[in-house]
Amino acid sequence: MTQNPRQPAIEKLPTGINGFDLIANGGIPAGRTTLVSGTAGSAKTVFAAQFLAEGIRKYGEPGVFVTFEEPPSDIRRNMESLGWDIPTWESEGRWAFVDASPQPGEEVLFAGNYDLGALLARIENAVRRIGAKRLSMDSLGAIFTQFADSAVVRRELFRVVSALKRMGVTAIMTGERTQEYGDIARYGVEEFVADNVIILRNALEDEKRRRTIEILKFRGTSHQKGEFPFTIMSGEGMVVIPLSAIELKQRSSDIRITSGNPELDRMCGGGFFRDSIILVSGATGTGKTLMTTEFMAGGVNRGERCLLFAFEESREQLFRNATGWGVDFEQMERDGLLRVVCEYPETAGLEDHLIDMKKLIQEFRPNRVAVDSLSALERVSTIRGFREFVISLTSFIKHQEIAGLFTATTPSLMGGESVTETHISTLTDSIILLRYVEMFGEMRRGLTVLKMRGSMHDKDIREFTIDNRGMHIGRPFRQVTGILSGNPIHIAPGEIDRMNQLFNDESEQT
């Protein structure tokens, strides 16, 4: 396409690291060395080790791990918790260490000029011995501290990089940074591996840790730009969450499904769309959990599989609530059609929640998913992180061609917008508002369908009541305005008639 015709296109080697290859547009440049730079604790070693582990597990490609910092015994042990059995791979000749870690308690004297010819010879030997296609070096800073002469180390590392290129090995080199936003790496290492640079960050944002990965450059080939969140999971390693790389190609269907409430279905023009995202917003106690419950029950009654993620209430509380509205969650779970997952938002970071939720959705294969509430999850994240979470979750749900219902809690009882709403309303296909309405010294409840993408819907604000059979949607509020803004004002019936008359006159004339 825009490639220089004389220069062959640079091939990509898929790393196999979950999500990474999507943001890397296929992988890292094959047969080249890529610098992975990050501050202390930014998961450089995990990246380096996982690059080899996935090569072995997914592509049958042996790999060499050159360690300048931790002894191999530490790496074997640390990576075991991520589910990688390095000793077995070593015995099978699929993983080889080149141990260049400092030897404790051994005196070293320098007496004249030297090079790192032995390191190069050992690396070449290890690559040939197991037929390695991949190689990781971790981390460069540690070799600079072993040898006083930085210029020699730089020159020798350049020789190593050239030798790897000659042997067709795709390599990762990790390097240290002193700050999250600043020089690429210490000791000027980017000078000899400047072609491909990846940055790992572990930044503190609003008192919350946020890990991100950014591909700074791939010479001669493309990649996604910007920072992407990632997380480290036991048994998986690094999982990158590719947000903008997610294709917005979901097919939207015109198949309707029931909301679980016949009157609400009528208001929505015949029910929700099958693969759509519905946001239910309202103050505490307005009936969000009830709508969630009816949405689940409506699915189960039609033999659909339903998955509920509850982040606000305990299991007992939820089941008791449901029983109070005439819904038997317990029986539904016994029938295998319903699964209720209750968790405290604080138990994990948002990225971890996302991955757990995706995993559960993939396992359970539900027809509909509900999250009650998103606002609870918002508490454990930054606004940016939260928005990314919602984008990723909605896109994932839509890809499965299932319906998702999320609830959001508004901070004030009488209405207004929630943070959740502000940040995700554009991502949802339908929005339903639940509001308290004060009428003559009495609290009533109102409901309206604010948005229904691709369909006609009822624009009235309807009153509803709740009893032991659930939600009953009644007549529109006729004598009140300003409900949605949280400032209900009563209008004399005469005024309403006059207004109606005004419009009726016009429409009758045409």
Partner: protein, 101 residues
């Protein structure tokens, strides 16, 4: 009692630096140890597994295996003082050979 020196010199190929290191070492040993030493020169290009075993990174690297303590001296050994220090020999090159304990 005489303690024999066992020295291993790791080098990379037949380069000028390799030659220089061997010459420097021979000279220092002959002047200070007489015949009381054994020297093994190991080319890591030919025997990379030995470099792996000893975890050698830089060349030339001299390892004094005996007498204890084991010590590593990195470089072409042009700094005679440092070499003598590393071999636990008196720093006067005109000395008596000093192998007696």
């Amino acid at each position: 009692m005489t303690s024999k020196f066992v020295l291993k010199l790791y080098v990379t190929g037949q380069t000028p630096r390799t030659e220089r290191a061997i010459q420097n070492l021979r000279r220092i040993c002959e002047q200070n140890l007489g015949s009381q030493y054994q020297l093994f020169v190991i080319d890591v290009l030919e025997q990379p597994h030995l470099a792996e075993q000893e975890r050698i990174l830089a060349t030339p690297t001299l390892i004094k295996e005996l007498p204890p303590p084991v010590r590593r001296i990195i470089g072409d050994l042009s700094d005679t003082l440092k070499v003598l220090q590393g071999l636990d020999l008196p720093v006067h090159p005109t000395g008596t050979g000093g192998t007696q304990e």
